[in-house]
Amino acid sequence: MSKLKWTGLILGVTGFLTPLVYTFPGLSLAGHFAMSIFLMAAVFWMFETIPIYSTSILVIFFQVILLSAEGFIDYSAAPYDPLPFNHFIATLADPIIILFLGGFVLADASVKYDFDKNLTRVLLKPFGSRTEYIILGLMVVTAILSAFMSNTATTAMMITVILPIIARMEPGDPARIGVVLCIPFAANIGGIATPIGTPPNAVVIAALNQQGLQVAFSSWMIYAAPLAVVMLFIAWKVLLRLYPPATDIISLTLDSKLKTSPNAIVLYATFAITVLLWITEGIHGIRSSIVALIPVAVLTLTSAFEKQDIRKLPWEVLWLIAGGIALGISMKETGLAEWMVGAISWDQFGYLMLLAVFGTVALLMSNFLSNTVTASLLIPLGISLAMSGIMEGQVFGMMMIGLVIALASSFAMVLPISTPPNAIAVSTGLLETKDMITSGLIIGVIGLVLIMLLSVIYWPYIL
């Protein structure tokens, strides 16, 4: 074990024990246990002493033991009314998790039948052969795919597309770096566009659901997709400015042959219907998590998606999200979130100032931590703050702070460790970390400014 992990282990255990031996004034008994879990999770997530998904599992485990009605702590004399334990374990079947499950099945089936690759080639064609438009095309396609598939899988696929392109460019062409960087950036940006684009969206939407606030798939897209479009355009311009193409034209050979086996056609149809129903949720009102069962059911019953494919689904991502959701539940139910928020006199901040603080903290944190972890740690605090009525209207305030946290954590793309797509891009050896830092910093800061701008001129009018 590395020194860092040891430090994390010691700090995590100390964090867990502190609330058990020290009494914080004004915090209930249950709140102390919730704080133990929160501190342990925060430290383990930050230091990655154990894999981030096992920290999530540990959160749920300790909640069942320490905070549930079936657990080991007797709350009969305390004001806290413990939740049944199935409340905590049910986070693994939360509607948002089912939505992601549907997305995963669609995405993995697409990989199985090479739909993602072939679709990419079809979509790239109209962008022609001028270098700058090829870069734009790569970014648009990456963003569209990563809005519905995992950002990481999309990046890996797109890297297989760009490596042959780069091999044809002049060795000294600065645009080579631009071509490599545009992929992870577009993947990170595309992830914000839909609820299933990236896990932080899930954590935030689930937390809002817990407050009785339903966020339709189409509503999220109305809030976030315009930002994705603008950011994509800005990122394109930034990369062209930093890495101007030395050659005007790149010859592309894009052979695409969509598979036509019966199973592949079932997949195309299912994909189209599911996505169509998702983005029109606002019209027909069928919840996206219910629609998500369509690909799961249809693809398995037609054997387009088989037993070994189910086993290969990224289950640990679902655990990771579930732990984040569960952490939020215990922090709210025990009054811990409210207590933590109450420790600072927020009234001195203006409401926009508050959003800016949360956005900045989210952006900073998720450059170093997992985006999902960042959202999981911040959203309970954000929601409690909104509940305390500092913002104009609780519902409005919760939505605003939720959007700011989710979107800002996705705009963190400064370092290779910021997101897996960044790590993949740097691993190609075609760029140096300092290239990523420069452009990632510019895009991150512009992103944060735009988020703040939208919270003044756009969201207040459509929420």
Partner: protein, 166 residues
Amino acid sequence: METKIYILVVEDEPDVLDSIVRDITVFEKFFPIEMADSAEEARELIDSILEKDDQIGLILCDHVLPGDNGVELLVEMQNRAETEDTQKVLITGQAGLQETVRAVNEADLKHYIAKPWQKDELTKITKELLTDYVIDHVEAPLKYMQVLDGERIAEHIRTGRGITDR
């Protein structure tokens, strides 16, 4: 300590040994290269690498050596569990048909490089075989991507889902 993947070069003529190592030097930063001039010395190296829980990803082996010959060594490695998956390559001008057939059948020979070789050929074969090895044996192949076949490693990540969103 992280597991290291070694390249083993076995060749008795110092000049030839040098030129093989020079041709594959781009890989050395990620795959340390060990050299031996006889099967006997190679065995000792193999033992000491395995003792550290490291692996041998690739062996480039001459056939005619003092003592046991190269094919003998490769067959022996094939029969040892820890080196069964090592990618085995003969670089030689002097292995007869019978010996070569034996290397293919009993040592799962991956490639036969006839002397004299072209640098590009040797680099390309080394890259492909190490990519195969890494894809099959390394859980996080990302760090090797820049010296290996990046497209295949990216494809492996796409289909194998070794890395996920977080």
